[in-house]
């Protein structure tokens, strides 16, 4: 799936919809702004998350940022690889650097997310 087909938040997360599952990551712009990611804190599988509420933390060498759930639902899977090798978030933000998969409780929430064309200007200027 190309970047054009993903959905986005203004907090610079991307969302890839696979049926009722939303795969979450951060954008290439976000990883560039954060710099070297050294540590992530993710929720456990089975935890409930609510749209726009903080569900984890991403720590880079210089800064710390909250992760916000783009949609509500249950954590179906988390990416163990980024916990042991967080650098992959920098090197492959749209691929192996994904964070969690959320089983959505309300797919209608997807309408509140940004399209590629809406998101792109947030990374410019």
């Amino acid at each position: 799936m190309s970047e054009q087909e993903l959905k986005y938040t203004k907090e610079h997360e991307w969302i890839r919809v696979e049926g009722d599952i939303a795969v979450i990551g951060i954008t290439d712009y976000a990883q560039g702004e954060l710099g070297d990611v050294v540590f992530v804190e993710l929720p456990e599988v089975g935890e409930q998350v609510k749209q726009m509420e903080s569900f984890g933390t991403i720590e880079a060498v210089k800064t710390v940022a909250d992760l916000y759930a783009p949609v509500s639902g249950e954590i179906a899977e988390k990416n163990d690889r980024i916990e042991s090798d967080p650098a992959v978030i920098n090197s492959d933000p749209y691929g192996d650097g994904w964070f969690v998969k959320i089983k959505m409780s309300d797919t209608g929430e997807l309408d509140k997310l940004l399209s590629y064309d809406d998101y792109k200007p947030l990374t410019e200027g």
């Binding site: 070297d36 060498v61 920098n90």
Partner: protein, 365 residues
């Protein structure tokens, strides 16, 4: 708010793809590609820093020594020609105005001060100026390149005929580097061997190119302020505005070694001597996290769930691969080996007070 100044290397940073930030009134590179990679480059071979934001003052005249003895805590009279000294200026209550370097040059002294404090320091010095002393702010007359790392001398050797083995740690020289006369010193803020070069602004780009060319075989890279901070923190070098400021006495900051009350009077002497005799109520300590996590400036330090201080500097150490930091804690709780906690997002995270420096394999001499 006035617009940030550009250093003579500004265009070089932009061309190198640096991420620029406003720092102390200057547009400075925080990183080029990766803070971690830049940090390790300096630990492993060599890197080049633009430090042109630092301030340079010249002090000359018949009473220059007397003036500097009164204004700084270290003993300026102990300096040999071309020797460099790390020191501080204090307020009468012992709070620190700034930490700085003093260079004893043949006919004058050069002071190198923190960028954020240039105006404040100059005003403070001017306010106390005595007859037969001339004080000049030359901050805009110099760019500054630091070449730091175990291979720094090899890079310098390709740019100068001066015998660098004659220049010991914390000594300087005046001579030709890459065909231009300049003052340079074997000094730095990284824990590695290295040199700092004071360069006329118009030849700065040329010097940068020369350093990159000479350093190519050692994989020299430009290093941003992000790695400068992590490198200095691994050595427990204090950062003004974080670890030391107008509210901290040099003694509690672990800078007793630069305070020389035996030299005679200086501003802040009584407060420094008193704290040394009475022992400081709190001390700046180094700590390492035992679990994953990163301490940040302002996080609380806890002991048995009780707040005992806060973090003044913290980072994920690229060399040690763990969270490290500095902070003030009560002296009675400051012994190395003590288990404390750092409150990270409301969660007490176990940490241990350790002896400085964090990084023990530095190549500085």
């Amino acid at each position: 708010m006035t617009e940030s100044k550009k250093t003579p290397f500004y265009n070089i940073h932009i061309d190198a793809g640096a991420k620029m930030v406003d720092f102390a009134g200057y547009k400075m590179p925080i990183q080029y590609k990766s803070i971690t990679a830049e940090h390790l480059r300096v630990r492993e071979t060599v890197g080049a820093f633009d430090l042109s934001h630092m301030g340079e003052f010249f002090v000359s005249g018949g009473k220059a020594l007397d003036f500097l003895q009164m204004m700084t805590v270290n003993d300026v009279s102990a300096l040999e020609e071309y020797q460099v000294q790390y020191t501080a200026m204090c307020y009468p209550d012992g709070g620190i105005v700034d930490d700085l370097l003093v260079y004893r040059l043949p006919d004058k002294y050069m002071l190198v001060v923190n960028a954020a404090n240039i105006d404040k320091d100059f005003a403070w010095l001017e306010e106390h100026l005595i007859d037969n002393v001339t004080l000049h702010n030359a901050s805009d007359d110099f760019g500054l390149i630091a070449i730091q790392g175990p291979d720094a001398q090899k890079v310098m050797e390709k740019m100068t005929d001066i015998n660098l083995d004659d220049i010991q740690f914390y000594y300087s020289a005046e001579g030709d580097v890459a065909g231009h006369k300049m003052i340079f010193s074997r000094t730095g803020y990284t824990g590695e061997d290295g040199f700092e070069l004071y360069i006329k602004p118009d030849i700065c780009p040329e010097l940068w190119e020369a350093a990159m060319k000479s350093g190519a075989e050692f994989d020299i890279e430009p290093i941003g302020l992000g790695a400068r901070d992590s490198l200095r923190l691994e050595m427990k070098y204090a950062l003004y505005g974080n670890d030391i400021d107008q509210t901290t006495n040099p003694i509690e900051a672990g800078l007793g070694w630069i305070c020389k009350p035996e030299k005679g009077d200086f501003i802040g002497r009584d407060a420094v001597v008193r704290m040394k005799e009475e022992k400081p109520p709190r001390k700046l300590v180094c700590f390492e996290l035992q679990e994953r996590g990163i301490p940040r400036h302002g996080y609380k330090i806890l002991n048995d769930e009780k707040e005992i201080g806060d973090v003044t500097s913290g980072i994920f150490s690229p060399s040690l691969q763990k969270g490290i930091g500095l902070g003030y804690v009560p002296r009675k709780l400051s012994k190395s080996g003590r288990e404390i906690q750092i409150e990270i997002r409301n969660k007490p995270t176990p940490a241990t007070i350790v002896k400085p420096p964090f990084y023990k394999d530095g190549t500085h001499r």
